[in-house]
Each structure stands twice: as C-alpha cells, then as structure tokens.
Symmetry: C2
Subunit: 643 residues, 2 copies
C-alpha cells in the first residue's frame, strides 16, 4: 500500500465508473466482427492518461530470439495444450516446443492410453476402455517454495470433464489425475505458495480449483437455473485427493493465491447466475471472491460442512448470506466491473489485479485490506479496492515485470497495455496527473493469456513477455480453414515493449508460466527399480500361460528384442511387459503390433506393459517404431498367432 492511496471510506468503488464506460448491448452486437480485428465503432474512450499508441517492431533486436545452432534456451515455459489435453514444454526465448506431456488425452507417440500404466492414470470404464479421449486444458501452474518455483510439480486442468492432472517435473510425466466431484467447467487452477498457519511449511501443499458452470447440487437435471450453484475445490498437492470444497454464489473463472498462503481468489463473471449469455452480463458489477483458507479448514475440522450426493468430500458454505460477518466469514466478495476475466497476484506480494473484460478497467485489490476486512477492520470488502482505472477495451489477463509495472492483454483492442500499479493507485486516489499507462503494443490478434518470465513469483525478472493471441489471421502461410493461434514473444526489459517474434501454435493453448532453467533438475534416464514389473535381464524373458491369459516378458536392447518370436492363440488375453535395457540417454525404443492397436515407447531403463486380445491366426511383425540404431529397421520380433 502506498501513502498516496486514499482512505477506504473515501472510495466510492461501486460507483467509480459510469454506465457508459461499459460495453453495452449495442457494442456487443459488433463483437463478432471485433473478434476478427475490426474495432467496434462504439469503442469506449481511451483513458486520458494513455500516451500515443506506439508499436515498434524489432528489426535488429528480433534475432534475440534466434539461438545459434547448439545454443540452449535460458527459460523453460510450461504451456497448457488446450484441446490436445497435454502440457507443452517450450524453451524461451526461442519459443521452440521441446516436449508435449500427455495427460488427459491419448498420445500415440508414447502410447499414452495404450499402456496399462497410462490407462490406470487416465481412468477406464468397466470394459477397460478409456473413460475419456477428449479434454480441454486451460491453466497450468507449478509448485512453489519461498515464493518461487521449486521444480517438483506442475498442475493442469481439464475443463470438459473437471479433472486435475499433476506433472512430475523430474521426469516430465503426468503421474496422477483427480476428478473433482460435482464440478462442471473446472476452469482456474492455482497452487498455494505456503501454509496459512504453519510458518515452517514454506512450499505448496494445496491446489485450488475453480468450478465455472453452476449446476443443481446434486445434479439431477433441473431446468431452473436459479437453483444452480458452483463449487471451489482444494486438492492435496501430494496425495491428489480432494480435501474440501466451498459452495459459493456466482461462478469461478480464474484463480490466484497470495504469497502468504492465507487467501485464494477467483474472479466471477457471472454473479447473476445467468443461464443465457445476455443474463450473464446483466449486472454492472461482478466480483472477485476471496477464500480464507485457515478458517475454511478450521470449519471442516469442526465438522461445519455437508456432503453432496455420494461424494465424501466436505463442503463448507461460502455463500454471501452465510458469510456476512467478517469475523467468521470464510469468503469475501469484492465487487469488480462487468464480467471480469483474470485475477493475478503481483510479485511484490501486495495486490491482486482483476481485469474487466466487458469494462475497460483493471481493478487493483490490496491483500492487506482484504485481510483487514476479515479481521473486522473494514466495513465492506470493496474497501480493499486500491484502484480501478481504464486501460483499454477487453482487458483479460495481467503479467508483471517485478519493477512495479503490470502488462494487461486487451482482447478487443488487440494490444498489450503496460501500466504502473503505483501510478494507477495515485490516479484512482485523485491525482489526475498520474500517468499510469506507460506503453501500448499492438499484438496480432485478440490476445488472451499473457505471462512474463518469472512473473508470478517473487523473482519476477522483467525480461520476456509471451502473449497468446487467439487469432493469427494472415500472420502465417495459409493452411486451410483452421488457423493456428499466434504466440508472440515480447522484450519487456526496456521502457517500451518490443515485439520479437511470432510463433504459430496448435489451438488452443491458454495459460502458461515461464521460469529460469536452473529451477528444474530433470532426470534423463529412468531407474529399473522405478517399475515393479521391470524385466531386469534379457535372460528373464519368458512366456507364461494361465488358461487364456498369456504373460510375455521381454527386453529391448538395440538392435534387437530379447525374444525373436513368441506364440499365442487366437482370443488369448496377452499381457506384454517390455523393459528397455539400454542405458544411454536418448535411446528410446518403440513396440508396435500390426492389427492389434498396440504402439508404445520405452525410454532408457523404462518398463511398460500392454494387454490385448490376440486376433486372427497369422504372423504379426512387431517392430521398433523409434529410430534407435543403424539396424533399426531390422529390429523386430514375430508374434505368431495360432488357431
């Protein structure tokens, strides 16, 4: 909090913006076109504090993102994969995609959804087939220690089927997937940064998950939307079990957490609980909803919860009505102009920033004041609003440079606006000479998420910004009706932002984080003991029959499999365990069986297994699908299926 911040009782927060500043129904009629780069004629006036538009494109500086052959990137990026249901690992500043980590959706390269090990993580139906093969990942965040990433885990959401996946950052693989009970449209996700009570727990132990779509609870199909409710969920970072849920008014969009571990926050764009889009935007203000974690957990411990349907997860009451008394409230609803999108915690640990989406504003909420409200020191949660200033049309997400500036995407203006938080507070406090807008940069086009290097940590370093533009239009060679999206890299180290490079990306990535490469310590080769089924020596290869079940144990070592052929009978249920005995980094083998829908890989010292039914009698050449050796083509074994 700065000295220039006005006293809370002087802040007419809910009346801070006149109605005409919102994007009304008339303007919205033009948004379909606006989404394609044409600005609506009814655009709200630009903030008086905004300087002239400046959009330098780097020419000399552009090659900053081009690494010489063999040069390594200096940052990792973890990117949500959108509909592909995976997490993507990028190197920055080059923007090169180094890995895709399959999570919710099968992946034919690694055999995710084919091997028994991956099917167990993904979840199957009674017949053993995968429960889901589609997903929609939006947000990914990693575990913290002392306010910075600690390289243990990352988490990612599936919006369609309300599941959260965990990625191990030693092997860069998904190891757990948890469904959230009674949640539809699981959207925002964020880990806590330390424990709200125990000072010694200075690292992530909880993951918070926002439910966007309200439904009947339990969901029995009522048509009356006024009975629908949303849930906010807490998942244990280690066990990946759902610890508790909070019943709320309105919905959950994005999620953020405070550095002190005390609060989680979610912005709400549909406090109206509307079932149609017109109803969802009828109110002039929605909210940013704060959760008091220690009180919630105390309530659970004290048994002040209910359960829903067959779920055993404790559900506490976080509705407005039940939390009117600040001294006991589990939740605080701070009002935010019209359909806000995005909530982000500033690296100075002081503020939460909410963007207005249908309002041209950003709202700065002061953490200390929210806590003060919970302590009964403020008369209303809105008194925690430190600033509410105009930045441009369609503000969505905000990144930080660690130097007091924020960078917000303007969806409708197709810009990134750089603004100074302290100056915005001063302007809001009455200093009309405060120039809070520092710079604007045109981006191509309709930006959604934005993030900066280390932006959501106390170590925000202000070097690179990446911005996910939803429309690429003519920025890349035409490839038919499905355009890539355009992720752009921006140099944010100077006063003015400089656009460095365009990168086409397969839709539809959303959120991402960027951090220094020394924060993770990947392991490049597995240990045989990581796998209980490991076939530790080629001599242990065997084929065993138990009725119609056949177990085949095999090893791979370039350029051969340990068994040159194996015989099964039509209709047998065959389980094949394959251990890759090659120890050399990067020496992966594949194993494909024609006609049996089997293909998977085994990385060095990895073991995987598949179970399938032997088909028609015949010779089936099983072959290595992952180039391994000069005799790779010759690396085969025969499965002979007998009648």
């Amino acid at each position: 909090m700065t000295d220039r911040h006005p006293a809370p009782d002087l802040l007419p927060a809910t009346e801070a913006l006149p109605r005409r500043r919102f994007i009304g129904s008339a303007a919205l009629a033009g948004l379909g076109l606006a989404a394609c780069g044409q600005k609506p004629e009814t655009a709200a006036p630009v903030s008086p504090a905004a300087p002239a538009s400046a959009t330098p494109v780097a020419h000399a500086a552009a090659s900053a993102t081009h690494l010489k052959p063999g040069e390594l990137d200096t940052y990792y990026g973890l990117w949500s994969g959108g509909h592909t249901g995976d997490m993507r690992v990028l190197g920055l500043p080059s923007g090169r995609e180094i890995l895709r980590i399959p999570c919710f959706v099968p992946d034919a390269l690694v055999g995710w959804g084919i091997t028994n090990e991956s099917k167990k993580i993904m979840g199957t139906k009674a017949d053993g087939s995968l429960r889901y093969t589609v997903a929609d990942t939006h947000h990914t965040h990693a575990s913290y220690k002392d306010g910075n990433y600690d390289g243990r885990y990352a988490w990612i959401n599936d919006k369609i089927n309300s599941r959260v996946a965990r990625i191990r950052l030693d092997y860069f693989v998904c190891d757990k997937i948890t469904p959230l009970p009674h949640v539809q449209g699981f959207h925002g996700i964020f880990p806590d940064k330390r424990d709200p009570v125990d000072e010694k727990i200075n690292y992530t132990t909880r993951v918070f998950c926002g439910g966007e779509f309200a439904t009947p609870l339990p969901n029995a199909g009522s048509e009356d939307g006024s009975t629908y409710r949303s849930l906010f969920s807490c998942v244990d970072a280690e066990t990946m079990e759902v610890r508790w849920q909070v019943l709320i008014d309105g919905n959950c969009d994005l999620v953020a957490t405070s550095y002190d571990g005390k609060l989680a926050a979610t912005n709400q764009y549909n406090t109206e609980m509307g079932a149609r889009y017109e109803d969802m935007m009828s109110a002039e203000r929605d909210a940013c909803l704060f959760f008091h974690i220690a009180r919630i957990e105390a309530a659970v411990k004290a048994g002040r919860f209910k359960t829903i349907g067959s779920s055993k997860v404790p559900v506490v009451d976080g509705t407005r009505q039940a939390n009117a008394d600040p001294k006991t409230a589990l939740t605080a609803y701070v009002s935010i102009p019209k359909n806000p999108h995005g909530v982000n915690a500033s690296p100075d640990q002081k503020y939460f920033i909410c963007a207005g989406k249908l309002s041209p504003t950003v709202t700065v909420i002061e953490l200390a004041k929210v806590l003060a409200w919970f302590d009964g020191q403020l008369d209303k949660p809105d008194a925690a609003i430190a600033a509410e200033v105009e930045v441009g049309l369609g503000p969505l997400h905000t990144a930080f440079d660690g130097r007091g500036n924020a960078y917000t995407t303007l969806f409708l203006d197709s810009q990134v606006v750089k603004w100074n938080i302290a100056q915005a507070i001063a302007f809001h406090g009455g200093d009309k000479n405060a120039k809070y807008v520092v710079d604007r940069l045109d981006v191509q086009f309709q930006p959604g998420h934005i993030n900066g290097s280390q932006s959501e940590t106390i170590a925000a370093d202000g070097k690179y910004l990446a911005v996910g533009c939803k429309f690429s239009k003519d920025r890349f060679l035409p490839v038919g009706p499905l355009h890539p999206e355009n992720e752009q890299i921006i140099d944010m180290s100077g006063d003015k932002m400089v656009l460095l490079a365009d990168h086409p990306v397969r839709g539809e990535p959303h959120d991402f984080i960027i951090f220094k490469r020394d924060l993770v310590k990947p392991r490049q080769v597995y240990a045989l003991d990581d796998f209980p089924l490991a076939v530790k020596d080629a001599k242990d290869s065997s084929i065993t029959r138990n009725g119609r079940k056949v177990l085949v144990k095999m090893t791979s070592q370039a350029p051969s499999f340990s068994m040159r052929e194996f015989k099964v009978r039509k209709g047998d249920e065959v389980t094949l365990i394959l251990t890759n005995l090659d120890k050399v980094e990067d020496l992966t083998h594949g194993f494909a069986i024609p006609g049996h829908n089997v293909n998977f890989i085994v990385n060095p010292q990895e073991t995987a297994s598949v179970t399938f039914t032997a088909g028609e009698p015949g010779v089936y050449w099983c072959y290595c699908t992952h180039f391994c050796h000069a005799l790779h083509l010759e690396m085969r074994t025969r499965m002979i299926v007998e009648a």
Copy 2:
C-alpha cells in the same frame, strides 16, 4: 549418361566393393553406442576423394531463418508426423509448425475420431468404435504435374496397419484412407509423375506403396520364414482404390518414381528374406527393384494375375524367376551393396540414387539403362549402375540441389555429405582424380531423412536443406527421458553447406517435402454446400425424436449457439449436427459436452456431427471450446438429460 561412363560389360558391379568395406558383425556390435554419437573404431576408410572435414556454423547467416514479426515463410514443408499419425505443415525457412493434419490417429483438437465424418474416414469396428488409434507415418509425397507439385493432394503411409491416407491440399484435410490388403509394414510411398503410356496425362494418377515385412500369403501364421513374401501396391490417386499388387522377392523399403512415368523403384534391404536381423544382413548385396508400370497394367488387363484370400485386387508375379526374360519382364532387380536404405530420383530425370546403409557407398543407377535392359539391350540389370562410390558411414537418404549435386545423410558419421553425381560417375569410370565429394557438414545427431527445397521435382532450386536427426542429445533444454528429435535447417545455396538452426520436434517424423508457397492455393473458408448435413439457417434448428433416436440440428454464430437448451432422455442415441454460420476467416467454434466424451470444432461455414448416448440425468453445459469472441466464455447451451 555421360560420355565418361564405362561400357556396361566392363563394370564389375557386384564385385565393385571388397568385403572389408562393409560394416561387418564385429563393427555392428558397436553400433548401439554409435547410434549415440560415438563413432565405431572399425570405421571404414574415408573415400580418398573426400576433402578435409569442414563444419561451419552460421553466425551472421543464422538469422536467415528468423522472420521478423509478420513476415511470411517462402516455402511450405509437409512433414510426416511419425507415431502421432498425422501430417505436419511447416513454414520454411523459419521451421515453424503451422498445422497438424490428423489422419490415422484421433485428434482431440478438431474432434478427429469423435465426429461421424472423421470416423467414417478413419474406419470403425462393428460397435462403431475406431478400429485403430495408433499409427506410424513415415513418408509423405504430393501430386505432380509436369514434374512439379500441382497442389492437389499429398499422401502419407501408416506402417503399423498398412494404410494410405490422402490429404486435400485445398482445405489441408485428410479425405480418404485406404487399407492395403495382405501388406504388413507398409513403408515407402511415392506418386507417379505422369502416365507411362498416355502423353496427355502429365500428372499423378497412381500412388505406389511398398510392403516391407514379408508374411505368408494369405497370412495363416506359418513359422517358416522362407515361405513369406512381400507385395508392392498401386493405389488410384483419385478413387483411392487399390488397382493392383506385385508379388516380389525380397522386401520394399523406400519408393521412388521416374519423371517419365515409366518406372517405379524400391530399395530392398532384405533380399535374404531373413526373419532375424543377422539373417537380414547376411548377403553382400541386396537390390533396387524396378517395376515396369505399363507392362504390369497390360498383364492385369490380359488377366495374367491371381488374387489372394478374399481380396479382389489383381496380383501379378514380379519374382526374379518369373521375370528372367527382359523382353517380357515386369520387374528388374539391380544389385546394391548390403542393406541399402533410400532411393531417390535426381531432378535431371536421369538417375536413381540408392544409399548403402551398411555399406559406405551410394549407387547411381541410370534410368535410360534400366529401360534399355527392359528392351533387351543390356545383358543384366546391374549394367545400369553408373557409379558406386564411397561417401561415408551409414548413408541413408539423398536430396538434390538441381545443380548436379546430391546430399546424402550419413547416419553413423552424423554428417551430411555433398557429392557431385557426374564426378562420382567419372570416378567410378576410372578417373581417380575426379573429386566427387564436395563438402561435409556435421549434424546433430544421427541423421535419417534429408530433403531440399523442391528437391524431388524438376524445379529443384538448391536453397534450403532440412535434415531429420534422430538423436538430439544435449541440443535442447533437458525435459526428462524422452528427447525430441532435431530437425536442422541448412543453407545449401553456396559451395559449402551452412548450418542455420536447430528445431526440436516431437518424435518421430521421417520424410518430408519442401516446396514454394505459390504451388498451393488453400481455401480458408468452407462452403455450406460442401456438407450434405448443413443447417443453413439458425431458424432450421430443431430437435426430432424417432423412438430412442434423437436428432439435434444447431448452428453457431459468435457468441451463441442457436439453441439455448435441449432436452433428451437417459439412454437416447443422440445425433447432433452443428453448422458454423460464421463466415469470417479464422472464426472457428468448438462444442464440448461434459461427461459424454464429445469435443469437436467447426471452422467457418463447416458442418460436423456427433452421435453419443445420453448419460445420467442432469444438466450438462455444452460450451464453445475455441476462443471466438469477448463473450466466448458465455457461449454455451444446456443439454438437460431427463430420466
């Protein structure tokens, strides 16, 4: 043919290389390590014609591949997607991936394998589920006209399940998939370049497909490998039906075609018909097998064929024994040293180049002489060998610059060798002063496929080379045990090759082609009439019940679906047809249903349909998954499932 080429009868082709020049069993014991970048100590001597190793890395030139923001690439690249079963579209020289075109494997972004339209193309089992969800694409080539690409089609193979897919290059989508009967390990693929008989047909009408794994025919499971045979298949480019097959001795690896349309060729690495890798490399020479297309089709027309099992495809006899008389032969077997890999037709239309793999040689075969043998003018096919020269260890694939030079990958040496074809012929003809090796460039590491801009057309322009390196080792930030592969871009315009950039790629791409961007004319928006099921007006939205079958017709137009809710009953078989009425380029919508494994997209003016069983009673928020508008999050409809 050059004047310096020796007379055929003076050419001791099959004895041209002494045994010691091959990589023997002793050396192979070291190949596992060799594959990881360490060179075997038993390396064959470098050709006396080789200059000193020169491996310049571009520093100033490197930024040639970095485009300024907004700049377009000048070349398209079509890349096989390997295990991901798709085709990738890249821009060159930037190396950026613009699109993935799903073919054989489901794709959760577009709903490939989810929509009824895509399932019909992919193939389903009796219960309506997908027959296969894994694949292994290796080679992709596009349709020709007058010796250059004409932008109509591209084709790609699935090695695991022996299927060929066609891509329409107007919309960049897969429109047909054809399984090859009685083929296992379908590997090489190449379209013809004109008709062998009809001069007026100066464009592609056939696609040739090589079967790599020999099996019993029909495949009844015999263990005796000596009875196994392989098939070479011809698919009609328009109907995508299999026209004919050829029974051969040995196997098919890669495929190439002559510019005059008369011949197709495949290299054979296993003329021994071995079932174990030691047996597959027992012979000193294998072969490049040529197919005389006009004669094969005359034989089919004359009824000189058999059929196999239940397949109705005519199969002609292309074995050695049946084709001893050149005047009537359908096939010609030209011998090539030990386990060759790769066959490529030079852009001067004169030669086929086969690389030795286990022999350090490349073999140059003269098309005119192969035709001369078929005309009875040469006593043996090997007389068509114009050169057989050493280039380095593990030669695999060859590209061309249109200036008489060839560029061959050396898997074991981790190099690209640039060599001059005319000089190689001179050297082979006895001119020991002919310096056929022009340059060598270290690549990182173990290169497989290579191709140059326009390399496999008469318009080869010698600007850019791309090389697919199978191992990336330490070239990118570590991401756990599964390394990306490394596709490198090389400037081939000067005397010396210059390495420009490293690109990590998701395994396991293989072959690719690179062509000028003006050769395709993509269409960016569909036409409503392209889809028989199109719902052409929001007013035509409807829900119709026929017993337990329910048909829902809906449209999308940002930011809403034409129906705000629809009701079905638990257990109903629901077919939902969705037409995207938005006409603006790049305005794609998605449609996801929680809990029902439904997610797909509709591009502008596209129609797609899905069929699913309504689940448990409840409210299911169907939402747009593809960011479309400022009110994208609000773009939903409710499916209310009643008991």
